[in-house]
Amino acid sequence: MSNLSESKYRGYEADRSKYPRMENGKPVIDLESHMYTKLWQGPQHPGVTGNMAVELIVNGDEIVDAKTHMGYLHRAFEKLMERRRYIQCFPLVCRICVPEPDTNEYCVSAAMEDLAGIQVPERALWLRTLNLEMSRIGSYLMWLGGQAGSLGMGAIGQWTIGMRDFWLDLFEEMTGGRVYHMYMIPGGVRKTLPEGFRDRARELIVTTRKLLYDVENTFLSNAIIKSRLQGLGVISPEMVDEYGIVGPNARASGMEHDIRINNPYVKYGELDVKMLTSTVGDAYARAELRYRDLHQSLDLVTEILNRIPQDGPIQADMPNLLNWKIPAGQTYVKAESTRGEHGFYMVSDGSDKPRRVFARGASYTHAISVLEELAVNISISDLAGLMVSLHTCPPEIER
């Protein structure tokens, strides 16, 4: 572990005498002692990611215990899918994660295809890859705005979320939907690329890169940001397995794991995806890694645009999807979202409705176990930054 994890960049020295007594690895907090204050951050609070809440016990402005509360966005997707036919599940799942809906669409379609033994045509696979990679860009841009905003830098959010809007315009052209694309239908995709799409996408990539240059100057090479993020929320390599940490959070701690490379899906096997890792494991390392990943995504989109076949079918030969019955079986399909391993576990009992679908949200552990662990001993003002740096997304946790 680097020296960054030590508190010299933290800006304050913790007074250990005020810490609660530990018993069996748990702090013993006596709220009656007037040493500690209970605070709720969220759900109605500008400093939480989405609609969730963190129950904090603070000592001064230092957090001594944190507890995450979920369920504000629980819509029971899994229950609803049990009473919907397979094709009817497909508009539902993209709602599981708002900034990056396409991963859900891909996973649920791929799970059905895996169980039913359907081969998706080449061109549809390329279009899916494009869609997935573009949605990663959108999600990263949104995260970048959130990360900067959580540290009080509103301008970055203005830029990147504004830029994301132009990516949404591209999505709109491609899929017909702005935020919820509902593009990957079981067996393939719904539309081909419209006229002139490639040129507009290439132009946008150039503009995005220009913007990222500014972001790098103002955000990543910013002394204040560095001093706040470096050493914040350090994830040690041991924690990664212990807590099931995935995605950039794990890679920033040295774990060489990217599903796009390790278990390639769609067309990632034919693309040159590089393993981006860092060894530091703090919030700054994660931010920097995501920033590099965003650049890589732009590279990949450029490459995909060049390689998408111009013609060919975009949907496999499918039966009547209204009466589609999938043979009994179980499968688990996963994809690398911007937050890490996003998977769908699907159980079919041979009927026209799934028996059970489980969506493993990438930030399932990040927002609860990991956040509760990392939030201890930091200042309240850093909590928002920590949450965003873990890139938590509540709807995919409670579904």
């Binding site: 899994e78 099931g244 399932y364």
Partner: protein, 186 residues
């Protein structure tokens, strides 16, 4: 993978093994041997990542199937370990000592399926629901539509027509239903 299965089979009795894809396998083990298998897989076989732990309700067989999805970073393979447990007063050993985040899933399963995990931290706390009074909602015998209609006000005034019945009404109303078989006792 076959060798791994052999090794595990030498250790305990595997009830089933199947290959779904090149990178996805499932094994089924006895409830009592689960902890043994999982710790062996984690410590000796390199399946260090627990992707999820979930339950499937097989109401007809009155069983819950628990699936522990593991991942091996070296051979890049997912292995699902399935255990069938009784649905009535469902209870399972907790694995929070093997993985620090397993309690989360156990807490979720306790709330949504009503499966108890004795010893698991915070398992009694509610996870996503608040003030829930019905049976655990993810059980298959819980009818979410019926509950929704009973509890939340649906906007009234909607009615639909079945084209089949509507056309019958409009076009061949008098074409009566099939004659019944008439028997002696009538």
């Amino acid at each position: 993978m076959e060798q791994l299965v052999k090794r595990i089979n030498g250790m305990i009795h595997l009830k089933a093994y199947n290959r779904q894809r090149d990178d996805l396998f499932f094994i089924t083990v006895e409830k009592s041997q689960l902890e043994l298998v999982l710790s062996h897989l984690k410590n000796n076989e390199g399946f260090t990542h627990l992707a999820f732990l979930q339950a499937v309700d097989f109401l007809e067989d009155s069983k819950f199937q628990l699936t522990y999805m593991l991942y091996n970073y070296d051979i890049r393979v997912n292995l699902g370990v399935k255990v069938l447990i009784a649905r009535d007063k469902a209870e399972m050993t907790s694995i929070h000592k093997l993985w620090a985040h397993a309690w989360q899933y156990q807490r979720e399963l306790h709330e949504l399926f009503g499966i108890n995990f004795p010893g698991s931290p915070r398992v009694e706390e509610s996870f996503v629901l608040e003030g829930w009074e019905e049976m655990p909602p993810m059980r298959r015998d819980f009818d979410t539509k019926e509950y929704s209609e009973r509890t939340f006000y649906q906007r009234p005034g909607r009615s639909t027509n079945d084209p089949k019945e509507y056309m019958k009404e409009k076009m061949y109303k008098n074409y009566a239903a099939s004659p019944r078989i008439r028997r002696d006792d009538e």
